[in-house]
């Protein structure tokens, strides 16, 4: 879901770049040196996820994992995704310098929104872990698709058809992404809960079973 270079009009490119820059500034402020390695790991996973093609019926789509990044990083998702996109641009020429702002905004704003919706759900234990994680992954990709086609549609009336096709084609990816995020989050919560910077409280799992699981993992 990268918008290529030279497609969008300069006004949109500039305003998206300004918004992304603001997001990256907030993220860099919130990023402390102790979390740098974890952030780098997640940024690298975002990059690697785009190389993993998962079959969906006759075609295949690649993972995005931005919901997971949002859940774990919050605002720091902005610099993490910016870095991964710069690497993708340099190594594979997906996107590029002028569309970096648009692409960062479209990919990194949804995780930040998801962070505010779903992290409270996970910490106060009101909903089941899998349910919240599924919708976190689903919503992040859905919002990214909506933002991407939205910016494309803002580019002019003639882009509206392309935007519609883009949006429709990413529906299966949203569902797969939700499923994968649900399993990944519950796996990590069982095996290595210290990966989360917050404690997960679920209605089912009692704290004793969780600490037992983590002690066997170590």
């Amino acid at each position: 879901m990268h918008i290529a270079e030279g497609v969008l009009p300069p006004v949109i490119l500039a305003s998206c770049a300004a918004l992304s820059a603001a997001g990256v500034c907030i993220g860099v402020k919130k990023l402390d040196y102790d979390r740098l390695m974890t952030t780098a790991i997640l940024s690298a996973s975002f990059f690697v996820a785009s190389l993993i093609h998962i079959p969906i019926g006759p075609v295949s789509g690649h993972l995005i994992l931005n919901g997971l990044l949002g859940l774990l990083l919050g605002w720091v998702a902005f610099p993490a995704i910016l870095v991964a996109l710069v690497l993708q641009a340099i190594l594979f020429q997906f996107g590029g310098i002028t569309s970096l702002g648009v692409n960062t905004l479209n990919m990194a704003l949804p995780p930040v929104i998801c962070f505010y919706i779903f992290r409270p759900m996970l910490t106060n234990g009101s909903t089941s872990l899998r349910f919240a994680a599924f919708f976190c992954g689903f919503t992040a990709v859905a919002l990214s698709a909506i933002f991407t086609s939205g910016t494309l549609a803002l580019g002019g009336d003639n882009f509206i058809n392309s935007a519609k096709i883009l949006l429709a084609s990413s529906v299966p990816v949203m569902i797969i992404e939700g499923l994968i995020t649900a399993v990944v989050v519950s796996f990590i919560a069982k095996v290595s809960p210290q990966l989360f910077p917050f404690t997960i409280n679920t209605p089912q799992a009692s704290p004793t079973t969780q600490s037992a699981a983590s002690s066997t993992a170590e």
Partner: protein
């Protein structure tokens, strides 16, 4: 798997300072993105191709890469000519291809390829570590340039880990398909990769702290920036600006 497909080479562009190339590529890309006429976009594409010629890259990898980049453009060609209002050029089954539609699709194709060719010639010819130090030299916030370098470092760790686990899955008879088993397997695999890489990163982080890491990353490759670098960067940037000026004042129409 080597990710830096174009970084090996001996051309003048390969030996240029990464910071100078970053500046040149940014200015050139921004100028090209602002172009509005086909003639100026052709000029930009010519400059891009010229830079590629100087970089002397492997033609096969290059062709593959450009084909891939143009997939998005091809998708726009499917919709743009019929969904732009204007003077009809050709009509078929209720779809009308307009002159304006073809014009805008062509302009986008030229601009996009111009930027991509220049970008490959300038930035894909540096290795990532050099670009990271180049970013630091350009006064990008230290946390960002460190994050860039560490991400590049861990990318390989994660990729290796992922490959090892997916080989293990294949050996155990895992064939991906459209079913919940496939998705669950991938998810468990990804979670395991994350956990393993996180543990490893934690160990590296502790080791670095014990050795007195204070946030500065010392590079072993020091390259003296020569006046040649700044001059060539200036020429590339100026050619972009000149094209933009020509486009703006419609000098092309006078020719």
């Amino acid at each position: 798997m080597t990710l830096e497909s174009f970084a090996e080479g001996t051309s003048p562009l390969h030996s240029m300072d990464a910071a100078a190339k970053l500046v040149a590529a940014t200015i050139f890309s921004v100028c090209t993105a602002l172009l509005t006429t086909i003639e100026a976009a052709c000029g930009a594409l010519l400059i891009g191709l010229l830079l590629l010629g100087i970089a002397k890259l492997s033609a096969r990898t290059l062709a593959k890469r450009l084909l891939f980049v143009n997939a998005f453009i091809a998708f726009l060609w499917l919709t743009l000519p019929v969904s732009t209002a204007g003077t009809p050029l050709y009509s078929w089954n209720g779809f009308t291809v307009t002159h304006e539609g073809i014009h805008i699709a062509l302009l986008i194709t030229l601009k996009s390829n111009a930027i991509v060719t220049a970008f490959i010639a300038l930035l894909a010819t540096s290795n990532i570590t050099d670009i990271g130090t180049g970013l630091a030299k350009l006064r990008v916030p230290q946390k960002l340039s460190l994050l860039f370098l560490f991400t590049w470092r861990y990318l390989h760790v994660i990729l290796e880990e992922y490959k090892r686990l997916s080989t293990a899955a294949t050996l155990r008879g895992f064939v991906p398909g459209t079913n919940s088993h496939t998705y669950k397997t991938y998810a468990n695999l990804i979670a395991m990769v994350l956990i393993k890489s996180h543990d490893r990163a934690e160990r590296v982080s502790n080791a670095m702290k014990l050795r007195g890491f204070n946030g500065t990353f010392h590079t072993l490759y020091t390259r003296q920036s020569s006046p040649f670098d700044s001059i060539s960067a200036c020429i590339i940037a100026l050619s972009g600006i000149a094209l933009l000026a020509a486009d703006h004042f419609q000098i092309m129409e006078l020719l």
